[in-house]
Symmetry: D2
Subunit: 144 residues, 4 copies
């Protein structure tokens, strides 16, 4: 198993263990250290009156991509918590499969930074996001 397979496996395990992540229906398409690609299809109840995906749902999707990218660097031993997230909505999200890419920009000993982008099926950018995370030592690891 390559490093990349190991990272993708860790992220899939994490998603499967979380009712929120798995209920959201997100899939890890590709992962390497510092970059994660997710696939996601909007179900009808995720759409608003105009048939567009709600902004909060897009924020959730890109937040997951960025958070998993941070996870791919910090690993299981450390925890990360979102401090702040900024989301720009460039275009409305029409029906079809979306892809979200999260990329770490810097992972320091205390703070991590990531970028995120959501593309539609035609590779047009729908959302651009940035986020900052507090990175802490895992309590179990720290006490172990």
């Amino acid at each position: 198993m390559t490093d990349e397979d190991a990272i993708a496996d860790d992220l899939r395990t994490r998603i499967a263990a979380s009712p929120f992540h798995s209920g959201f229906g997100v899939e890890v398409e590709e992962a390497r250290r510092g970059e994660v690609r997710l696939g996601w299809e909007a179900r009808d109840e995720r759409r608003n009156l105009q048939g567009l995906v709600h902004g909060g749902v897009l924020a959730t999707l890109v937040d997951m991509a960025m958070g998993l990218a941070v996870r791919s660097v910090v690993g299981e031993a450390r925890r990360h918590v979102t401090i702040e997230m900024t989301v720009h909505f460039l275009r409305p999200a029409s029906p079809g499969r979306l892809r979200a890419i999260g990329t770490t920009q810097r992972v320091g000993s205390q703070i991590a930074f990531a970028d995120g982008t959501i593309f539609d099926a035609n590779d047009r950018i729908l959302v651009r996001a940035t986020a900052a995370y507090s990175v802490t030592a895992d309590r179990d690891a720290a006490s172990g």
Copy 2:
């Protein structure tokens, strides 16, 4: 019916008409022109592995409060679309009923600005958010 009742009624109608809003389970507690208070209780599938409400869900909740506050000013005749939203996560969201307050800071002819805050049952601030909206004339109204 007072103006405030009319505004709250309009927002409740809008929420009821949107599968996304009503599926999310949000309730209008109070509304006046430029300020909307929502109540919301996190169901289990909205929580992550540590039992905390996922950040994307909190972003959705505060986005709704801010968007409905803009709606309370622009009314039915005009549409608003989120351009950008920034969310700061001050404290983790433990179980219990949450309240989200959205307040408009300025609603111009083209751009609107709003603030949002999420409080827990003990009135502690969990989330602070700001957002910018593009405000457009409703097409039907414009052509009518």
Copy 3:
């Protein structure tokens, strides 16, 4: 000397000691633990071709107000570094004296959050901002 006087004095000393702060021409009008009010007048070279204050200058002003508000809580013994700042430009800044208010929303052991607002001479809001800070123990204090 009251606590508030002591806080304002500490901030004025800090500004005087910093060529950047004093060159910028900012004055502490009022300060208490967690809230700082600054006064500032835009000189001509801070204006753009249309005679308006440049957005980067307003960002600097509101950043100072928020940073000093954090300082008023953490004191001399701890350092704070800006992780992220979001600035919304609600109205153009026409000539005249501006006031900037920075308020802490939460100062934790590692992360602090603040809000900032810039008002013009007619008390209209020009800028709304939010920021997150990394708070660290002072090295001397830590080693002392």
Copy 4:
């Protein structure tokens, strides 16, 4: 003269005409439609007590790069005004020449989005930023 030369010339003319831009000391190193690279050296009064460049100054620099990138697309005939800017501070800015790159992500008929990055002399990322702009028809052009 190539298109890229024409764009760089237009931006340099604009900077020279603005006391704020020229006083800030920024130089256009390279420009093409949608992407602008600026060079800038921090003078002493731009530094704080620790000798680091103040965050507000970095925000100004990256704001200029993003704003000029939008300008390179909208041209002289339309105006753009910053609605919102988010800045992440990844690393402190130590002495030496900095480069700022602004890139448009989308320029629509009413709203434009841009990204910005500041690099130090060793090509390390110091700042990541995103911004949204309101794009309007120039009044003279519109009335002409």
